[in-house]
């Protein structure tokens, strides 16, 4: 018995790759494309900053009128805001809500798109026509304007409600892709073989079809996150949702409305959240581009 087959023996062959082996393989694939790796590191950094760092960095929320728009110093690396509060501290605390909302919005829109895209493609007929018609309408309405109207009417105060509204705007593009993929996949020989082996509909959808759409789904998920962040920034900057808590977009709102544009001293207060949003978005886009390669099994060894 060779060493290689001994290794296989220890695992359940139907569940390969095992999680750890899969993770190592994933990192190996990512490291082939520097841009993707930088994106991954960037995303992990911001996730750490938003979800872990607040446990270690105490919130500095006290107004200090003696230090309004303070210059960068060791205590305040990016200076202070219009009430003398530390900018870096706000950036650390301002990521969580905006990223959570973006993840939820991307998750909801992906679930909507996969569910209804697959239904449209497999059922066909009138249901397909109806779903497509709704999709086309949703695609043609100017998204930002619709978002502003919805946000102004409902004034969502929780990030969950905001995520639902954002998700309702983002599903159409993925739905069309999923529908097209399912339409083409269901005619493929391997799906026909699965049908003739009587493996069941759930197996065909989740084991034969979805893995072939992984790249579309994951990349849509990431792009949906970036769009959700822009949309949040836009409606919060416009002050359309109740402004509560700490948030990069709320920082922007205050920076603008407190006249930060006109004070040379407040340059860093304005640029802080802008750079945080921009760098996080860039990391997401680069991660998406790196993942494209990972999800192509032909590139695996």
């Amino acid at each position: 018995m060779t060493a290689a087959s001994g290794l296989i023996d220890r695992r359940d062959v139907s569940r390969i790759p095992a999680p750890l082996a899969g993770l190592i393989e994933f990192l190996r694939m990512m490291s082939r494309k520097p841009v993707g790796l930088i994106g991954l590191i960037g995303v992990l950094f911001f996730l750490f900053l938003a979800y872990v760092a607040p446990f270690f960095v105490p919130l500095q929320d006290t107004v200090d009128v003696t230090a309004i728009y303070a210059k960068p110093s060791f205590a305040h690396p990016l200076g202070t805001d219009f009430q003398g509060r530390d900018v870096v501290n706000q950036i650390v605390y301002g990521g969580g809500d905006i990223i959570t909302t973006a993840i939820l919005a991307a998750l909801f829109s992906t679930v909507i798109a996969i569910t209804f895209g697959s239904i449209a493609a497999t059922v066909g007929g009138r249901i397909d026509a109806l779903i497509l018609a709704i999709t086309d309408v949703a695609l043609t309405i100017p998204q930002l304007i619709l978002l502003i109207v919805i946000a102004a009417i409902f004034r969502p105060s929780s990030f969950f409600a905001l995520a639902v509204i954002l998700a309702l705007l983002q599903w159409p593009a993925l739905l069309r892709q999923i529908r097209a993929q399912v339409l083409s996949l269901k005619e493929r020989d391997f799906v026909e073989a699965a049908r003739s082996l009587d493996l069941g509909l759930m197996h065909i959808i989740f084991r034969e079809m979805l893995p072939n759409m992984r790249s579309y789904i994951v990349i849509h998920f990431i792009i949906a996150m970036t769009l959700a962040i822009y949309a949040q920034a836009a409606i919060m900057f416009l002050g359309l949702v109740p402004l509560s808590g700490k948030n990069w977009a709320i920082m922007l709102y205050f920076a603008y409305n407190q006249g930060a544009l006109f004070f040379k001293d407040s340059f860093l207060y304005l640029m802080g959240p802008i750079m945080a949003i921009a760098l996080f978005q860039l990391s997401l886009v680069w991660l998406a581009s790196g993942l494209e390669d990972v999800f192509n099994p032909r590139l695996r060894n």
Partner: protein, 336 residues
């Protein structure tokens, strides 16, 4: 008398196209027994793939019936239908499309074993190893974790045969299963399929455009020659190859290249009147082969549609001239 294992009973399949209705398969009857090998031969567009898909129960005939152990398949429901589906497996033409690119060999073989044989873990692994050995992929353990793109065309075709065998099928329909693999490995794939019928009592149907492949594969079985949706000749392989009755079969056999130049030189040349196959949208009247047929008789072949008639030796042919001239003398005397 027990009914044949699987039987096509006068099936036709029509398609409606913007240019009109075409009959891809016209009134084909074929019955197959246990562990038989049969080849369906014909040029592209003759309806052989459609026939194969109807035989595998993947395509519903426009008219006619598909019988499995004497029962109409398209009236089966639920468990009964699922049982039929598993009993007849199709091996697709394109080994690059028939395996899911995102799933390893083990992931392709394990689900049917788990679902239909309750084989999990070690038992599943042992079953997979023995299946891979059976289809000639050795050492089998090396193949379990391979993705389809890491395999050659021939190896993929073997994996799809192994996948079909996971459910212990009674019939395997191999649609052009060797036409997309290298010539050098065709013979071993054909042998593999042939052995399934002799060793494991699986009825194997090979659909091919290549009569040389058919002659090799069905050497102990039968060949059905199709032309424009109809079976024009159905006979045991040996007599069909050595003494074809239908002029179209004669032409096909004459076209098989021979390795020996002396045979090639001495071979009877059959000159068809044309190389053009008529369009299915505009079929000639009478015998569909008459515009190309060297034996065609005006007033008969271009008017009357020939039906499949029996000749001695268990062969049948759809040709007025062949049926008349091959009628045994005794029968002719008897008529007089």
């Amino acid at each position: 008398m027990t009914p044949p294992l699987i039987q096509l009973d006068g099936v036709s399949r029509t398609y409606t196209t913007p240019a009109g209705t075409i009959t891809a398969v016209d009134n084909v009857s074929l019955s197959l027994g246990e562990s038989e090998t049969i080849c369906i031969v014909g040029e592209s567009g003759c309806g052989k793939t459609t026939t194969g898909r109807m035989l595998a129960g993947l395509l519903q005939p426009s008219s006619g019936r598909l019988l499995f152990e004497g029962a109409d398949v398209w009236e089966k429901k639920g468990k009964d239908l699922a049982r039929f589906r598993r009993a007849v497996q199709l091996v697709h033409q394109d080994p690059y499309a028939s395996l899911n690119p995102t799933r390893t060999v083990a992931q392709a073989l394990a689900p049917p074993l788990a679902k239909h044989k309750k084989a999990h873990g070690r038992a599943a692994r042992a079953a997979m190893i023995s299946l891979l050995e059976r289809v000639g992929l050795t050492p089998p353990a090396d193949f379990l974790l391979k993705y389809p793109h890491q395999l050659s065309g021939g190896q993929r075709q073997r994996v799809s045969i192994a996948r079909a065998l996971t459910v212990d099928p009674r019939v395997i329909v191999a649609d052009e299963a060797v036409s997309m693999v290298d010539v050098s490995i065709r013979i071993s794939l054909l042998d593999l399929l042939h052995n399934l019928s002799t060793e494991f009592h699986v009825t194997t149907v090979l659909i091919t455009h290549d009569l040389a492949v058919a002659r090799y594969f069905a050497r102990t079985g039968r060949i059905a020659v199709m032309y424009l949706g109809k079976v024009v000749e159905l006979a045991a392989t040996e007599p069909l190859v050595s003494d074809p009755a239908h002029p179209y079969s004669t032409a096909l056999i004459a076209a098989i290249p021979e390795a020996d130049p002396t045979i090639t030189r001495s071979k009877k040349r059959v000159s068809l009147k044309g190389a053009e196959v008529p369009s299915l949208l505009n079929l000639p009247p009478g015998c569909v082969f008459h515009p190309r047929c060297p034996l065609s008789e005006p007033g008969l072949c271009d008017v009357v549609v020939p039906t499949l008639g029996d000749l001695p030796g268990g062969r049948s042919v759809a040709c007025h001239v062949a049926l008349r001239e091959r009628q045994p003398a005794a029968e002719l005397l008897g008529v007089r």
